[in-house]
């Protein structure tokens, strides 16, 4: 009976998830057919594709992981107090605030990103205000910078951080915190020794759900960035559509996936033990 229920779904995932990944691995070691059209390749087990793909795009790889890490840290810093406030300080407003925290993400992802581009752009209200107060110089812009890309990613992946955090904070019995206070722990100690450790599952889930899509993202870099802020996603996209170099694109995709899986495994192992706490 369970196998019968699994069959259609797994057949689908096998055909359209596993098979494509295997095919991607094959494509990644192909080379163009001599004298063939663009995009025609043959299998030559040319593993040097990986070396070339990586050495040519070291910078973009590094940038992807640094940007994703920064966005994850910023999202955690913004989302944790928000989730905490909703879980413990909102009283009757809890459900309403929970809806409000997710609501902005009902506006299409692309529209939100374009809105940030315009808000931070030359015609927006932020740049002239900051210039008037002398906080940034007359020639400083906010769009087409690393700042804008990281900010856009932080914003766009925020619900993936907030919801798991809220879910794990909400499950904490407030009496455990009261008990800590009764035992003469001050607010900071209570947070460090009781609340934070108990909310770790949410922190782990939230950081993973933010980091993974952020590392592979290219929309924020394309809309809010410049050619100098290109991430690995931008390279893969242009290899596919503009240069029609499938083997390199496949090698890059595979390297990205492998790097993320390795990082995630190490992270889960670390976070699973008490070291992080």
């Amino acid at each position: 009976m369970p196998y019968l229920l699994l069959l259609p779904g797994f057949l689908f995932l096998f055909t359209f998830f596993i098979l494509p990944i295997v095919n991607l691995a094959q494509t990644s070691t192909q080379t163009p057919i001599a004298g063939g059209d663009t995009g025609q390749n043959e299998q030559t087990f040319h593993f040097a594709n990986y070396v070339n793909a990586f050495t040519d795009n070291k910078e973009q790889f590094a940038r992807s992981f640094v940007f994703a890490l920064l966005a994850t840290i910023l999202a955690l810093a913004i989302a944790y107090p928000l989730a905490y406030a909703i879980a413990f300080k909102a009283g009757k407003l809890k459900n309403l605030l929970l809806v409000l925290v997710v609501a902005p993400f009902f506006v299409s992802f692309l529209l939100r990103t374009v809105a940030w581009k315009q808000i931070l752009g030359e015609e927006g209200f932020v740049v002239p205000t900051l210039r008037n107060f002398g906080i940034i110089s007359q020639s400083t812009t906010l769009t087409s910078t690393s700042f804008a890309v990281v900010m856009g990613m932080t914003y766009n992946f925020l619900p993936f951080m907030t919801l798991p955090l809220y879910a794990s904070l909400e499950r904490i019995d407030p009496r455990t915190m009261e008990a800590s206070g009764d035992l003469y722990a001050n607010g900071i100690t209570t947070f460090r020794k009781v609340t934070l450790p108990l909310s770790m599952p949410g922190v782990v889930a939230g950081t993973l759900l933010t980091f993974i899509p952020a590392a592979g993202d290219y929309v924020n870099a394309a809309i809010l960035g410049s050619p100098n802020t290109k991430m690995i996603g931008n390279v893969i996209e242009s290899r596919y559509f503009k240069i029609v170099d499938y083997p390199t694109a496949a090698a890059l995709s595979f390297t990205l996936m492998a790097a993320i899986l390795i990082l995630v495994t190490i992270y889960i192992r670390k976070a699973g033990t008490e070291e992080l706490v």
Binding site: L13, N95, V219
Partner: protein
């Protein structure tokens, strides 16, 4: 009692009182800033849906209701929206059916290969979208299938299944097994128990999963961009027109979707509360 209290207040200097108030309300003040940050782009999108902008919606030129009266006024915007809705409904239907079946299998039975099944469900969620999109496109190209409407639907079903499984599984795990046992005790057979007890109890989870699948599908850009070829969806339309400024009609559609989703969620909570009270 009240006298004592009055007497004690002036002994605390105003400065200390202020800092104490700050300390106690710090998290609330932070939350207000947090919500402001969250809503800035929403308010911006909403405000600029009323902009009398002509073709490029970059600078405020004056208030108008014309964009709302004629949301299809800009070329292609409504056909893109139509495509997104069609793809979203089809993908949601297939993903919800397939995902719910898997969730019941994993949530209800102990069988050989259960942990492998869990891994197969987790992997698509741990794979960056660009890898999912690119690998699927490679497969379609090998079989000489041109990207377009159906390849996009297939791609969306593929990445939505895992989210449906996770959502429905959580609901199944929270069921009280005694309810089904009670049905069996009252001579209901397995099928009747499933139809009249289990399914109605899991239904909110399935509905939630379907809503999640639709919103993921509707909002997806990266995987769609790889597999849709020349077909335009709403996010693709926004992306392509972003360079020269998106038309105000796109803001109208975005704002309308926002309000629709908000109403749905609030109505859902209201119904949920009523059910709880009725119990």
């Amino acid at each position: 009692m009240s006298n004592q209290k009055d007497a004690s207040i002036p002994t605390i200097p105003a400065k200390a009182r202020l800092s104490r108030w700050f300390g106690r309300n710090l998290i609330r003040i932070y939350a207000v800033f947090g919500f402001t940050y969250l809503f800035i782009p929403v308010l911006y999108t909403f405000a600029f849906s009323f902009n009398d902008s002509g073709k490029s919606n970059l600078v405020w030129k004056g208030f108008t209701l014309n964009n709302w009266k004629n949301p299809c006024g800009a070329p292609e915007v409504c056909s893109a929206l139509g495509n997104s809705i069609k793809i979203g409904l089809l993908a949601t239907t297939f993903a919800t059916i397939l995902g719910t079946m898997i969730a019941f299998a994993i949530g209800r039975y102990a069988f050989k290969g259960r942990s492998t099944s869990n891994l197969l469900i987790f992997l698509p969620m741990a794979t960056p979208e660009i890898v999912l999109g690119a690998s699927l496109l490679s497969l379609f190209l090998v079989f000489h299938i041109n990207p377009g409407f159906w390849p996009t639907v297939i791609a969306h079903v593929m990445f939505c299944i895992s989210f449906v499984v996770v959502t429905v599984k959580a609901r199944i795990a929270s069921l009280d097994p005694r309810l089904e046992q009670a049905a069996m005790d009252l001579y209901a057979n397995e099928l009747e128990t499933f139809r009249r007890v289990t399914l109605p109890l899991v239904a909110p989870g399935i509905a939630g999963a379907a809503l999640l699948a639709f919103s993921l599908s509707f909002d997806d850009f990266i995987i769609t961009n790889f597999n849709s070829g020349t077909l335009t969806t709403f996010p693709k339309f926004v992306y392509v027109s972003a360079a020269r400024g998106i038309p105000a009609q796109a803001n109208v559609i975005g704002s309308a979707m926002f309000m629709l989703a908000l109403i749905l969620v609030i109505a859902g909570q209201f119904v949920g509360r009523k059910v709880k009270v009725a119990k």
